[in-house]
């Protein structure tokens, strides 16, 4: 599939340094292990409220993208972009607390999974009607463009979402107004049980880019370095005022649509083939080969990650659920705004600012 972007001829971003490489591995592992903890332990113990949606096998997208951001940039991650939340500054305990529907979690029990955000961290969450965040990203992009600081906005969505009207309207608007929006499409080949072949007829979604008048590029979604590079180039284009880009990141959804879905409709052969491309193993092999990390260091990192998760889960579990009466609070933003008051049952110091009081720190 020929890449259609003219940007290939542009200057490539700086390759990540050793520190960044180690951070990449750290976040990849933290994401993988956290999601496993959610799916295979907490969910099975009946501790999660609602469904569990993981991004197993696709972790490189969130990591590669979020690490390419700089202060003042904004991101709209979707439900399979766990890593983005951590990289942007949500504590692991807060993220688990949100899954556990706690009263002082970022969403204060009002919404589930990764439907949580914080303007101070530059994170705007999705709603369940997917695709709706793309137009919102355009609005953010419009303001960033006018402020002229070179900041950009990244918006994440799946290949299934691209069938929705909002995606079309947003891409068209971004292209017409030359907004600094990076459209990051995780083509994990299945939207619930719908394979990509039943979702669209175009051979590669990257071709949609030029169909709107923006560069479109297909990237190996399991290669965190390729992603970091591709997003980095798209971000540089946007910072330079050259407008939006569309990235199709090819992966395979290695788990079901959610924890209750055994995904028997995914051919076993496909799973085996993509298991070989696992982003974490690939990065580990790269780091070992380039002697950026030793085997020992990687094992220690793995241990550290588990300790971190243990601590975060314990902390999150110790938090209380919200009080029932709170359900009717905070519908409107008025002078005595409910969200500006501290969460009703705070235990410990780890609750993060929840975007209360609109501070436009992104200037």
């Amino acid at each position: 599939m020929k890449s259609t972007t003219p940007a290939r001829s542009m200057k490539r971003s700086t390759k990540p340094d050793a520190e960044t490489l180690e951070r990449m591995l750290y976040y990849l592992k933290l994401t993988r292990e956290s999601e496993l903890r959610l799916e295979q332990l907490l969910y099975r113990q009946g501790k999660i409220v609602g469904g569990v949606y993981v991004g197993r096998g696709q972790e490189a997208i969130g990591v590669g993208a979020a690490l390419a951001m700089r202060p003042g940039d904004v991101t709209l991650p979707c439900h399979r972009d766990f890593s983005v939340f951590m990289i942007r500054g949500f504590s692991l305990a807060d993220i688990f607390a949100n899954w556990l529907a706690r009263g002082d979690a970022p969403a204060r029990g009002r919404d589930n999974t990764l439907h949580m955000g914080d303007l101070n961290l530059g994170v705007i969450p999705i709603i369940s009607p997917l695709g709706a965040t793309l137009p919102v990203a355009c609005g953010v992009g419009l303001v960033l463009q006018q402020r002229g600081n070179g900041n950009v906005v990244l918006t994440h969505f799946g290949e299934g979402t691209t069938s929705l009207g909002d995606v079309h309207e947003a891409m068209n608007l971004a292209a017409v107004l030359k907004l600094p929006v990076i459209f990051i499409c995780n083509n994990n080949q299945f939207a619930y049980s719908t394979p990509a072949a039943k979702q669209f007829a175009v051979k590669s979604l990257a071709l949609r880019g030029p169909a709107y008048g923006m560069p479109g590029e297909r990237v190996d979604g399991c290669d965190v370095l390729a992603l970091y590079d591709a997003v980095g180039r798209a971000v540089e284009r946007a910072r330079a005022g050259k407008g939006p880009s569309f990235l199709e990141c090819l992966t395979l959804r290695m788990a079901g649509h959610s924890a209750h879905d055994a995904a028997e409709y995914v051919p076993e052969k496909l799973k085996l083939a993509w298991a070989k491309k696992d982003p974490i193993h690939r990065l580990e092999r790269f780091l070992l080969a380039r002697k950026v990390m030793t085997k020992r260091q990687i094992e220690e990192l793995h241990k550290r990650v588990h300790q971190e998760i243990d601590a975060a889960v314990a902390q999150a579990e110790s938090r209380p659920l919200p009080r029932g009466e709170e359900a009717v609070e905070g519908v409107y933003c008025e002078a005595d705004c409910w969200w500006r008051r501290p969460p009703s049952a705070v235990h410990g110091p780890s609750s993060v600012a929840t975007g209360t009081g609109q501070r436009t720190t992104h200037d």
Binding site: P135, V136, G141, E169, N172, G330, G355
Partner: protein, 324 residues
């Protein structure tokens, strides 16, 4: 003071807010170079520039979504729907994104979505709807429907200054038919407060939008028969002024609920329940509704006339209620 039409008053209100607050900006179709289909934004592109008056593609969903995104970044966008009928094309963004965002994770969404609604201009099914109840039924939104030029200006300013998403219904029939002396200084009409347009003693008529004028016409007619109508203009539908509604009902003991919107699921049903719950003891007759029937708005004049409530229908209802 200046004598302004209802549409000119809205225009002046938006203009003043644009001057007052640089974070206010406009998005919509044909609002820039063309000045808007009803010329509400005439001259604004020239005065405020392309950055603040944005002509968009035909993309109601993207326009509303972009407004939400810009609001999260500290702006106060005002979105024009060329006709409020087209708001359906941006429905998901309004009810699922804008309305629920503050409740779910905290930030305010200070957007205004405004446009011409209502019938009586032979616009047919897609240029005449009164679809306010789709939004009155959505917690998290505010819904406003002014009937006078003074209120139109004061309420658009209030809407723009409100930190919540406000859906602003301008009745197109009133655009150039209603004129009033408007003060030149800054003033705001509060959202959530009704206004008593005419004091009376026998029957309270609770209404909003173009029907306020219909009620006043009926009141003048009935005065000749010695029947005294009190006319309450709701002005806001969400939140609405329970207190003023109940006070009028208690004063008159009889009530007619009037709106141009269709019957089932209309505001009158909500008010009837409220009155039955809280003023049952004060009623001397049944709660009557005068509304359009449950059909799309028809195009041809005789059909539309039959469809729309009018002064005569209010008069007949009042006489029926008076005989109780």
């Amino acid at each position: 003071m200046a004598l302004l039409t209802y549409v000119e008053a809205i225009r002046q209100g938006i203009w003043e807010e644009m001057e007052r607050d640089p974070s206010v900006f406009l998005l919509g179709e044909d609002i820039g170079a063309y000045g808007g289909a009803f010329k509400v934004t005439a001259g604004m592109l020239e005065k405020f520039g392309e950055d603040r008056v944005i002509d968009t593609p035909i993309s109601e969903s993207a326009i509303v979504g972009a407004a939400i995104g810009a609001a999260l970044m500290g702006m106060r966008p005002v979105v024009e729907m060329q006709f409020m009928d087209f708001i359906a094309c941006g429905f998901d963004q309004i009810v699922n994104m804008a309305a629920k965002l503050h409740y779910r994770w905290g930030p305010a969404v200070p957007i205004v979505i405004r446009g011409p609604c209502g019938a009586g201009v032979h616009g047919g099914p897609y240029h005449s709807q009164s679809n306010e109840m789709w939004f009155v039924h959505t917690p998290g939104l505010k819904v406003v429907a002014p009937a006078t030029a003074y209120d139109a200006k004061g309420l658009i300013k209030a809407a723009i200054r409100d930190d919540n998403p406000v859906i602003f219904f301008e009745h197109k029939f009133l655009y150039r038919r209603v004129k009033e002396e408007i003060p030149e200084q800054d003033y705001v009409v509060p959202i959530g407060k009704a206004a008593v347009r005419r004091e009376g003693t026998d029957i309270a008529v609770i209404t909003y939008g173009a029907m306020v004028w219909t009620a006043l016409d009926a009141a003048r007619e009935l005065e000749k028969e010695g029947l005294s109508l009190e006319v309450v203009d709701l002005r806001s539908l969400l939140p609405y002024d329970e207190e003023t509604v109940l006070a009028s009902v208690r004063k008159c003991s009889k009530v007619i609920l009037l709106h141009e919107d269709t019957r089932t699921g209309g505001m009158a049903g909500e008010l009837a329940a409220l009155i039955a719950e809280k003023a049952f003891e004060d009623l001397d007759g049944p709660i009557l509704r005068v509304t359009a029937p449950d059909t799309p708005v028809p195009f041809s004049p005789p059909l539309e006339e039959h469809f729309l409530p009018n002064a005569q229908k209010v008069v007949e209802a009042a006489r029926k209620l008076a005989s109780y």
